[in-house]
Symmetry: C2
Subunit: 235 residues, 2 copies
């Protein structure tokens, strides 16, 4: 009998706490999640690093492969937050229903954002994680511990912060960087640091608005390539 | 009988391989050793960090204690070269006879240097490690892994390079930094990086002579203190 059939599962709706009924007049909700990346995310991370190199006009310095990223970023002994760590930003038009807790040290951060207009992602196919739930990768932040001897405290150094072009100017970069800052505070760390190109005035404004100081007097020194290799054979 | 008395032990002399007979016309030999620091070196490291803060006129940023340095730098799980690492420079007028291999990953580096004049160390008492063998601490370098996504390789970031005042301008800073560079090459790492104050022309010249490039366009951004703490309470 048809009456004996179980009722259909309820359609997934945003949680009430998020204040977003399906017919919200506020616009176009987008569900976001920040989680620890794993080795299976390397193809997406590799593509984003290449896009970053193109944006920074530094493709001549780009030599990462999926294989080299996997072995250096996701070695079996590396512990998130104590070594190289990647937070991945995922977006979806639907609520997240899958569990992605890969490490007890970090609970994924889920937020829903209201946009005036929906985002058209021309590269959606290349950045889809789970076609069934319509989850795409929108950005990442790569960071690792550094240390201040004056404070006698570790901190985090942010090597890369990247949001894919169609997702920019919507607060996602701030969301990624804030998550690193919050993690630093939770761990009792003293600083979060990164570098910016001095001509990138938009980025500088953005970082200052987030509370960062730009240290004008310091210059980065880099020993690399042949100049570094020469030290391998010294006594 | 006087003849039965054992002959006096031979006076310690530099090993022949070092080419330094006692009556060398070359000057005053000083024996140097670079080794991994351990928790028992913290009192000396702490004093040197304080001297560095004085030199950089940054004592207002100095809040390290021996206890905070010990717990953050020498935690039992930290593995040299994969976390915060300190090389200590020891000097002695005599050859080193004690063994200081504290970790299989690094064999201490011993060298003998000829000086025109002997070094008078006004703080010798505060920096003596082993009074019997007349070993003093002359400097240190603190570094830890960083990561380049473009190279998909780790590197080393040098947070502090310090040589005590009476030991400066004798090549000891170069010796410490070269040892970090050599370790990076041995581990297949891609870069060694650090920062320098843009007005410190002597340091810049020294680093350039060592093969480093000074990156003029990049600025360090720092989120710390209250501005960082504010992120601890955000959603």
């Amino acid at each position: 009998m048809a009456a004996a059939a179980p009722p259909p599962p309820p359609a997934p709706v945003p949680e009430p706490a998020m204040g977003l009924p399906e017919d919200s007049p506020l616009g176009h909700p987008i569900f976001t999640r920040i989680r620890l990346a794993t080795a299976s995310d390397v193809p997406h991370i590799h593509k984003m690093i290449h896009q970053m190199a193109v944006f920074e006009r530094l493709t001549h310095l780009f030599s990462a492969t999926e294989s080299s990223l996997t072995s250096t970023l996701f070695s079996p002994t590396a512990k998130p937050f104590y070594s190289f760590t990647v937070f991945l930003l995922e977006v979806s038009p639907n609520p997240f229903t899958d569990s992605v807790i890969t490490d007890p040290s970090f609970t994924p951060l889920v937020k829903v954002i209201n946009l005036d207009l929906p985002i058209e992602d021309p590269e959606k196919e290349s950045f889809t994680i789970n076609p069934r739930n319509d989850i795409s990768v929108a950005g990442f932040v790569l960071f690792f511990p550094n240390y201040s001897t004056f404070l006698a405290k570790p901190g985090f150094y942010v090597e890369d912060l990247f949001v894919r072009e169609c997702y920019r100017r919507k607060g996602f970069g701030k969301m990624l960087l804030s998550t690193v800052a919050k993690q630093a505070v939770n761990m009792g760390y003293g600083r979060v640091e990164w570098v910016v190109l001095d001509w990138n005035v938009n980025a500088i404004k953005f970082y200052e608005e987030m509370g960062a100081k730009i240290l004008q007097e310091w210059r980065v020194c880099r020993l690399t390539g042949d100049a570094l290799e020469a030290y391998g054979t010294t006594d």
